[in-house]
């Protein structure tokens, strides 16, 4: 009798856990559009794409771009959302291999640990395209090409614009920098590119540089302290729009006018950032475009037809000044 009662709770636990697992399982299925089997030879290319997740507006725009351009290019897209987990992504790629899709493309969640599954794709003679983020596999033959932004270039474009603006500066120009997540590729590369570019003018000096973790709250909190610690800040370089937007509030609270007292340069050009630029609160944005769908479809067709493609392809990107932002804002999708 007593033993029976002792058993009851544990059975309940199992039932609840099973229900929880089921719920997550269904959620994962609900998010992937991998429907009926692919690879039918009707002249249409089947592209299996595994997305990182939906962690930001940038990523959502990236997904929309890929879906829309696939429909426009007549590519049969099998889309999978990895929900920021590598194991989901590996599972998705294996599914694509089983379904015998023509081309596999994916944005790797992390850089390492892809060799095995990429080898499986290679053995199945399915070409792989990396988008947005790269992998650290030593064997470059495991994938055909990497389509994505050049983060160093983004930093350099931002720096070059500043050098041009401050050409006539006679005294020192104090710059503060809001870095992205410590150790992430965009943070490292944008910092590097920017530093290279501003080295052209010895007056330009980075007086403080901290990580704002790519978030608005982080950008705001760091900028508050920068403003208090440094009485004279002329320029803010933020590694993405969101940190810049957070910093705007700190600057306003400190009684300064963003865009005038402090020149603000950011990277990304998401809609909120473009709005700030058009309103004159930002001064310059180097674009990091998520709209790589059309280029990806083009590449998928090329590798499917066995054409040679360069191992590294940059996303088509531009930069925006305040005037350009006003013109571009109405059509901004993300």
């Amino acid at each position: 009798m007593k033993r029976m009662r002792d058993h009851l709770p544990s059975r309940r636990i199992i039932a609840v856990l099973a229900a929880a697992l089921l719920a997550t399982g269904t959620a994962a299925c609900g998010n992937s559009d991998t429907g009926d089997g692919g690879g039918k030879d009707d002249g249409k290319i089947t592209l299996g794409f595994s997305q990182v997740g939906a962690e930001s507006g940038w990523r959502t725009a990236n997904t929309t771009s890929i879906k829309e351009s696939a429909a426009a290019a007549g590519v049969d897209l099998k889309f999978d959302d990895a929900q920021q987990k590598q194991e989901n992504q590996i599972k998705a790629i294996r599914n694509f291999i089983q379904q015998k899709v023509d081309v596999i493309a994916f944005s790797p969640v992390v850089e390492s640990g892809w060799d095995t599954v990429l080898k499986e794709a290679k053995d199945a003679k399915i070409p792989v395209i990396l988008t947005d983020r790269s992998v650290d596999s030593a064997d470059k033959s495991l994938y055909k090409t990497f389509l994505g932004s050049d983060f160093v270039k983004e930093g350099r474009l931002a720096g070059e614009w500043l050098v041009e603006q401050k050409k006539g500066a006679t005294g020192p120009v104090n710059i503060v920098e809001l870095q992205g997540t410590t150790g992430s590729a965009p943070a490292n590369d944008r910092k590097k590119g920017f530093a290279e570019a501003i080295a052209a003018n010895p007056n330009l000096k980075i007086i403080a540089s901290q990580s704002g973790d790519f978030t608005r709250a982080g950008g705001k909190q760091v900028m508050e302290q920068f403003l208090k610690a440094n009485p004279k800040i002329d320029v803010l370089f933020a590694h993405n729009d969101d940190m810049g937007l957070g910093a705007l509030e700190a600057i306003t609270a400190a009684g300064k006018v963003p865009g005038k007292d402090i020149t603000i340069i950011t990277v990304d050009a998401v809609k909120d950032g473009m709005q700030a630029l058009a309103d004159g609160r930002f001064n310059f944005i180097a674009e990091c475009s998520p709209l790589l769908g059309p280029q990806l479809m083009d590449l998928a067709k090329k590798v499917h037809n066995g054409e040679e493609v360069p191992a590294r392809i940059e996303t088509q990107e531009t930069t925006f000044t305040q005037e350009q932002a006003k013109a571009a804002l109405p059509e901004r999708k993300y």
Binding site: G53, E55, S56, Q210, D242
Partner: protein, 356 residues
Amino acid sequence: MNSDRSGARALTGHRLFWPVVVLVVLLAANTIYRPGFLSVQLRDGHLYGSVVDIVRLSAPLILVALGMTLVIATGGIDLSVGSICAISGAIACLYISRQPDQNSLGGVLTALALALGVALVLGAWNGVLVAVIGIQPIIATLILMVAGRGLAQLVTEGQILTINSEPYKAIGVGHLLTLPLAIVIALAVALLIAAVTRRTALGLIVESVGGNARASRLAGIRSARITFLVYVISAACAAVAGFMMTANVSSADGNAAGLWVELDAILAVVIGGTSLAGGRFSLGGTILGALLIQTLTTTVYAMNISPQTSLLFKAVVVIAVCLVQAPGFRARFVRRRAPAVAAVTAGEQPKEQVPA
């Protein structure tokens, strides 16, 4: 002379003595680095300065940690608070963004009530899992920690939701009588919790449940009901903290809002001298712990410690606080330096013991 010494020992033996020392040392180091660190000015009718920032930014953490204190006092733990922050902030911002007039006070209050309601339901879910079904708290709340972040992203559709609502923004950056409104709210909640737990028997009951739930039940306390209650309170505190976090930047970021705040909250509780084993708690200690953690973060930015070393810096300070708080460590340290005093310290140890 003798009473002087025992007075000093009573002071150093107080469980909050060492966290206070570390806090003072941090502030002093900041002042040495930049003499103006402690200065507070009156700007646009409110206080302005690094110390004010620390107090304002620590408000959400104080709230979350207060709820966590009660949960930990019952011997439980609540890992889902970060996710609840994100969900409540996201729901409030979503509701406000759908309003024709985002500045209408009524709309904002409805949004807050709605989000708080959802948070209470989530807290009740935790409470049922732990108190009724009997799942280990760390597992029960882990479910919502993981799933809740997804829920928050579902609410915001994976986007960062920007709103433009002055009444809502005030929760994060507004001022009341020159003080940041956020800290006023946090202190009001702290006083409320203190009044309810320390002016009534509730605090004692919570501690008794944490000490021994079965014995408490046999003594006539409805242990399960108390356990259920603390998870609901914790969720409510997290919800208000979520409002502050999102109001601070006028936007809801399902992915980043309240990320890892549960760990900071547990740390604040532990620094404050509340036993992780349950059975006793200190609300004042928790508030001090939260202030210490935020001071640490602000110090990193104010002293421009490089991002690569900042985590190590924080870890070193936290380890120092925990070690210096541990009576065992202090006794060993003292014995090595002055063997004569050691016997006395060791003899008194059980009375002063601080679980760290």
